[in-house]
């Protein structure tokens, strides 16, 4: 494991969601799940809906990250999140409902973009439920 920490910034359109030092961060990207330690090579990923785990000195922080992209530099990581929530901001009942709706749409016979959309919605609701039910 590499030593040291990097500066992690999570920015969403309405505020700076998180800014601080972290030693490791795990998240889902379009190419699969990744974990990033300090001194990573510069890299840009596209984010997929899922849970992001931030390892800081105070412990592990988790949040539901839904869309955006991430820019990794040697000592600095910037996540441009279109939508991101802390566990206590999640409305479980709504997420459950969204999950059921998405599953119904997926089992139906609609085509093309609807399926992609429903899959995204399903992933979003799963991430929310996973985090929200832990609290």
């Amino acid at each position: 494991m590499a030593d040291g920490t990097f500066l992690l910034k999570i920015i969403n359109p309405d505020r700076i969601f998180f800014e601080g030092n972290a030693s490791f961060v795990e998240l889902h990207t379009s190419e699969g799940d990744v974990g990033i330690y300090p001194k990573h090579i510069p890299m840009t990923f596209i984010v997929e809906p899922g849970v992001i785990r931030i390892h800081t000195e105070e412990g592990i922080k988790e949040a539901a990250l839904h869309a955006g992209f991430i820019e990794v530099l040697e000592d600095k990581i910037t996540i441009m999140a279109e939508s991101v929530e802390w566990p206590d901001e999640i409305d479980i009942a709504r997420a459950e409902e969204a999950k059921i709706r998405a599953e119904r749409r997926l089992s139906g016979k609609e085509t093309g973009i609807d399926i992609a959309k429903a899959e995204l919605a399903l992933k979003r609701s799963l991430a929310r439920i996973q985090l929200g039910s832990k609290r």
């Binding site: 910034k9 920015i11 969403n12 359109p13 309405d14 505020r15 700076i16 990207t29 379009s30 190419e31 090579i41 510069p42 890299m43 840009t44 990923f45 596209i46 869309a67 955006g68 992209f69 820019e71 530099l73 040697e74 910037t78 441009m80 279109e82 939508s83």
Partner: protein
């Protein structure tokens, strides 16, 4: 000279107008504070997005992507952000003027994606074609709205219905200075975005996962919607700033007029007293 009663009536009418403008000024001051805080909070996203896209473009060199190259259509889409309410000084007219006076945007080629009903009125009067209207959005701008507008625009862009996309909004410099701004969104010419990011992370070669072409495909819609959202927040702040200024000057104008009318009223009163006295004295003289 106007009669005392006329002056009095006029004065009280101005006074009640002044009360209204004063109240409107207070309301827009409060709204401005809120909108300003919001605009400042959304700024980091807006700026980081701009820089990131800039560095991606400059580091990835010649990518032949439809979003970067002009297509055949000479139609130009302009997203014009004005307000739903008037009484904000030149706020709405200045924005429309910015679009109508631009030589690169001839009337026949422009399709307006309008936000703000006041702007729409003026565009329609001038004979512009309004392709879509999202006026309700500006009352309470959400990021989702920006995403929806972006999707509609990018679809027309990919289908070749429009060749260029511009964004016209009023940028919020500070409380007293708001500048109508016209910005080209697509196709992105690499020079326009490149400038900002020379300092910092130069040298290190950026890797992409997925490939740059595909990454851009995903990133550019996000870039466009973040710029639109940033423009929303700034426009709301500018609108309230402009209204506050307009109402402030209206209130002080009313004050001036009231002062003038009070003077006239007092003179008229004095004249009538003097006249009455003269008449009484003349009457008394006649009896003696």
């Amino acid at each position: 000279m106007a009669s005392m009663r006329d002056i009095k009536r006029r004065k009280s009418s101005i006074q009640s107008t002044q009360q209204i403008t004063k109240a409107m000024k207070l309301v827009s001051t409060v709204k401005l504070q809120k909108a300003k805080a919001k605009a400042e909070e959304s700024k980091p996203y807006f700026q980081t997005m701009y820089q990131t896209i800039g560095s991606i473009l400059s580091k990835s060199g010649a990518i032949n992507h439809p979003y970067l190259v002009k297509n055949d259509s000479n139609k130009k889409a302009v997203i014009a952000i004005s307000a739903n309410r008037g009484l904000a000084g030149g706020y709405n007219t200045n924005l429309v003027k910015l679009v109508t006076s631009d030589e690169n945007l001839p009337k026949e080629d422009v399709l307006i994606y309008n936000i703000g009903s006041k702007g729409r009125e003026i565009f329609l009067r001038k004979g512009y074609e309004i392709k879509a209207d999202y006026s309700e959005v500006i009352n309470q701008p959400l990021y989702k709205d920006a995403v929806d507008i972006t999707q509609a625009l990018l679809k027309s862009y990919r289908d070749g219905e429009i060749g260029e996309i511009y964004l016209a909004y009023t940028s919020f410099k500070n409380t007293v200075s708001h500048v109508p701004t016209l910005m080209k969104l697509l196709p992105m010419d690499q020079d326009s975005v490149k400038v900002e990011e020379e300092e910092g992370n130069s040298g290190a070669l950026m890797n992409y996962e997925p490939e740059p072409e595909e990454a851009l495909e995903q990133l550019i819609p996000k870039y466009v919607s973040s710029l639109i959202y940033g423009a929303f927040s700034e426009a709301v702040a500018s609108e309230n700033g402009a209204r506050m200024q307009a109402m402030d000057s209206a209130t002080s104008n009313a004050e001036e007029m009231i002062a003038g009318l009070s003077l006239m009223y007092n003179r008229a009163r004095q004249t009538s007293i003097t006249q009455e006295l003269t008449e009484i004295i003349a009457g008394a003289d006649a009896i003696n």
